[in-house]
C-alpha cells in the first residue's frame, strides 16, 4: 500500500498564549511546536498498515522551515520519505482558508501520483489542535474526487478496498467499506503511539525530504485550481469568562475546607 499522511505542526498544548501585535494569532516567540495529536495517530495507523501489508508511507506537511523538525520526527518513527510544502514567511499560510491549504495539499498529491504512481490511502488527523476546523481531510477528498470517511479508529484492508471503524456520537460506532484510493481522517486514541528509536532517528537523517515552495507548487500545478480565500480570520482575542469563577486560595487543606463549605451552604449539594 502506498499511503500519504498529511501532518501539521502546531503549538504545544501548554504554549503560553499572548496575542501578537497584528491581533491575528498568538506571539510565536518562545512557543514550542509539536506534531498535531490526531495526525500522530494517522501516522501510527499508516505505519501499522505498512508493517502488515508492505508498501510506502509518505509524509506531507505545509508550513515554514520549523515544520522540518516535525517531518524528521515522522521519518524517525518509520515514514519512508516526505514532501514539505515550504512557506517562505512564518505567516504566509495564515492568510489561507481551509480550502486554500487543501488545494496546496491536493496539488502536491497529484504531482506525487503523476511522478510515482497510484496512492492507495491518504490519512490525516480529524482536526488540528490549533485552528480546530476539522475539515482539511474532507475538502482534500472532494478536490481529489475520492471517497472519504471521518473519525476513523481502525482500518482493515479488504479485497475491494478497505473496511474502517468510524466513531459516532454517544458511544455508537459504525463500520464502513470504501474502495481505494480513499481519504480517511483519524480519531485520536485508538492505538498506542510509538516512539522514535535511536536507529530510527539516525536513519531519518538520510531519508528524502522533497521541499517545494508554495509559489513554485502553484506555478507548476496545471490541474489544480487555486482560489482566493473566502473566509478570513479578522482578529483573535482572549475569551471572556462565561461564569465568574471564585478562586479558593490558601493551603490545600484551607482551599478544600472553603470548597466544602460552598458545596454545603451555597450549592446545597452535600
Amino acid at each position: 500500500m502506498k499511503i500519504i499522511v498529511a501532518i501539521k505542526q502546531v503549538p504545544e498544548r501548554d504554549a503560553r498564549i499572548r496575542i501578537d501585535s497584528a491581533g491575528k494569532w498568538i506571539d510565536l516567540n518562545d512557543v514550542e511546536f509539536t506534531m498535531n495529536e490526531s495526525d500522530a495517530y494517522a501516522l501510527e495507523e499508516a505505519l501499522q498498515l505498512k508493517e502488515a501489508h508492505g508498501g510506502e508511507v509518505v509524509v506531507l506537511s505545509a508550513g515554514p522551515e520549523r515544520v522540518g523538525k516535525t517531518i524528521r520526527e515522522a521519518l524517525a518513527k518509520g515514514a519512508d520519505r516526505a514532501i514539505h510544502i515550504a512557506s517562505e514567511a512564518e505567516d504566509e499560510l495564515a492568510g489561507y482558508d481551509a480550502l486554500g491549504v487543501a488545494q496546496l495539499l491536493a496539488a502536491s498529491i497529484k504531482g506525487e501520483q503523476a511522478d510515482l504512481g497510484q496512492v492507495d490511502l491518504i490519512l490525516t488527523g480529524l482536526q488540528s489542535d490549533d485552528l480546530g476546523l476539522g475539515q482539511t481531510g474532507v475538502i482534500l477528498a472532494e478536490l481529489l474526487g475520492l471517497p472519504h470517511a471521518t473519525l476513523i479508529l481502525k482500518i482493515e484492508k479488504t479485497e475491494a478496498g478497505i473496511k474502517v471503524l468510524r466513531e459516532l456520537e454517544d458511544g455508537w460506532f459504525q463500520h464502513l467499506e470504501l474502495p481505494t484510493p480513499a481519504v480517511l481522517t483519524i480519531q485520536s486514541g485508538n492505538s498506542k503511539l510509538r516512539y522514535a528509536t535511536l536507529m530510527g532517528i539516525k536513519k531519518a537523517k538520510l531519508k528524502e525530504v522533497r521541499s517545494v515552495t508554495v509559489s513554485n507548487l502553484k506555478a507548476e500545478s496545471q490541474e489544480t485550481k487555486f482560489t482566493a480565500p473566502v473566509v478570513i480570520l479578522e482578529h483573535v482575542k482572549l475569551p471572556t469568562k462565561q461564569r465568574t469563577t471564585q478562586i479558593l486560595g490558601g493551603t490545600p487543606a484551607e482551599a478544600a475546607a472553603k470548597l466544602v463549605e460552598k458545596l454545603q451552604f451555597e450549592v446545597r449539594a452535600l
Binding site: R13, D97, H148, L151, E169, P229, V231, I232, L248, V267
Partner: protein
C-alpha cells in the same frame, strides 16, 4: 438570495424514538438570529419522508418553509448521498447562509458540500455578531483563544454551530409549509457502503442521572492515581467520570466519558479534576448547575466555565478535599 437555510439532524433515525436533536434546534435559533440581521426568512431542511411524524413536532419560531428531503438512497447516512442532496437543495433555494448543527455527521459531509460551492464551512461557531454583514466567533487552541471570522466569498456562507452555544427558542404554533424535495440521486454516486450503527457495550453507568459527578483528566498522570479521585467520589456519593484521554488509555471505561464523543451531562455539581477543558469536553458538561475546577494551570479553559476553582497540585488538593468532605458529612 432567498433565505437562511437551516439543516436539522435526526437522532435515532432507525428507532421509534427518532427525534430532531437538541443541537439542531439551537442551530435553528442561530439561523433565526442570523436571518433577522440580514433581513431574510428562515427555511428548514430535514432528510425525512414528508409523512414522517417528526414534522408535527417542530420547535421554535416558525420557518417560512420546511423541505423534506427524501430519497431511498438517503435512508442510511452517507457523506456522498447527503452532500449530493444538499447541493441540489441549495441550488434550488439559493440561500444567503446555510446553517448546520456541528455534529459528527455534519463534520463528515458539510466541508465537502461547501467545497462544491467554492466555499469554506465556518465550523463550530459559538457566537454571531449580527448586522448586514455578520461575523462569526469560533474558538482556537482548544478554547484558549476566540477568533472572529468574516465570509468574503460571493456564494452562500456555510456555518455550523457548537452544541450549547445558542439557546433553542420555545415552540410556537403558527403554520408552516411542508415541501417535499426529491433530489436526483443515482446509486453509483454513493461510493461508501455504510454498516449498521452499533454500541460497543451495554451501558451500565448512567452518568445522566447522577447528582454529583467527579471527573478526571490528563492531570492525573497515571492509572494508579485514579484511586484518589475514586475516594473523593465515594466520599461525595458521586459517580466517577472522565475526559477522553483517560478512556482512550483504558484507565476508565468509555461509558464514563463526558464530552462530544461521550455523554452530555448536566448534574448539580460537576467537579473537573486535572481537566484543562478542551472544547470537546466543555460541550459535554457546561450545562452543569455548579462547576468546580481543580487544575494546576490558572489559564486552563476549564476556569472559564467554573463557578469555583482551586489552582494547585491535585495530588495535594484531592486528598485534602476527601478528608474535608468526610469531616463535613460526619
Amino acid at each position: 438570495m432567498s433565505s437562511v437555510l437551516v439543516f436539522l439532524e435526526i437522532k435515532n433515525r432507525e428507532g421509534a424514538n427518532a427525534e430532531v436533536s437538541r443541537i439542531s434546534w439551537e442551530a435553528m435559533a442561530a439561523g433565526h438570529a442570523l436571518a433577522e440581521s440580514v433581513g431574510l426568512p428562515v427555511d428548514l431542511a430535514l432528510v425525512a419522508a414528508p409523512g414522517n411524524p417528526i414534522f408535527e413536532h417542530l420547535h421554535g419560531k416558525r420557518p417560512r418553509k420546511v423541505y423534506a428531503i427524501d430519497d431511498p438512497l438517503l435512508h442510511a447516512y452517507t457523506a456522498d448521498g447527503y452532500a449530493a442532496a444538499c447541493d441540489q437543495l441549495i441550488e434550488h433555494v439559493n440561500p444567503s447562509h446555510v446553517v448546520f448543527p456541528h455534529t459528527y455527521q455534519v463534520r463528515d459531509f458539510a466541508p465537502a458540500l461547501a467545497t462544491r460551492f467554492g466555499q469554506v464551512l465556518i465550523s463550530d461557531v459559538t457566537g454571531i455578531e449580527g448586522g448586514p454583514e455578520p461575523v462569526f466567533v469560533r474558538q482556537l487552541l482548544q478554547g484558549k483563544l476566540n477568533a472572529t471570522y468574516r465570509h468574503t466569498g460571493t456564494g452562500p456562507c456555510f456555518l455550523s454551530v457548537q452544541a450549547g452555544a445558542f439557546r433553542a427558542d420555545a415552540a410556537q404554533s403558527e403554520e408552516t409549509t411542508l415541501e417535499p424535495f426529491l433530489p436526483k440521486l443515482e446509486a453509483a454516486q454513493i461510493r461508501v457502503q455504510p454498516g449498521e450503527p452499533f454500541r460497543a457495550s451495554a451501558q451500565t453507568v448512567d452518568l445522566g442521572s447522577a447528582q454529583i459527578l467527579v471527573s478526571v483528566g490528563r492531570g492525573i498522570k497515571e492509572e494508579a492515581n485514579i484511586a484518589i479521585v475514586q475516594e473523593l467520589a465515594t466520599a461525595l456519593g458521586a459517580e466517577l467520570a472522565a475526559s477522553r484521554p483517560i478512556c482512550d488509555a483504558g484507565w476508565l471505561p468509555m461509558e464514563r466519558q463526558v464530552g462530544s464523543s461521550g455523554q452530555t451531562v448536566a448534574p448539580k455539581v460537576y467537579m473537573a479534576i486535572g481537566i484543562s477543558g478542551a472544547i470537546q469536553h466543555l460541550v459535554g458538561m457546561k450545562g452543569s448547575q455548579c462547576i468546580v475546577a481543580i487544575n494546576k494551570d490558572e489559564n486552563a479553559p476549564i476556569f472559564e466555565v467554573a463557578d469555583y476553582g482551586i489552582v494547585g497540585d491535585l495530588f495535594e488538593i484531592v486528598p485534602a478535599l476527601t478528608a474535608a468532605v468526610r469531616k463535613a458529612k460526619g
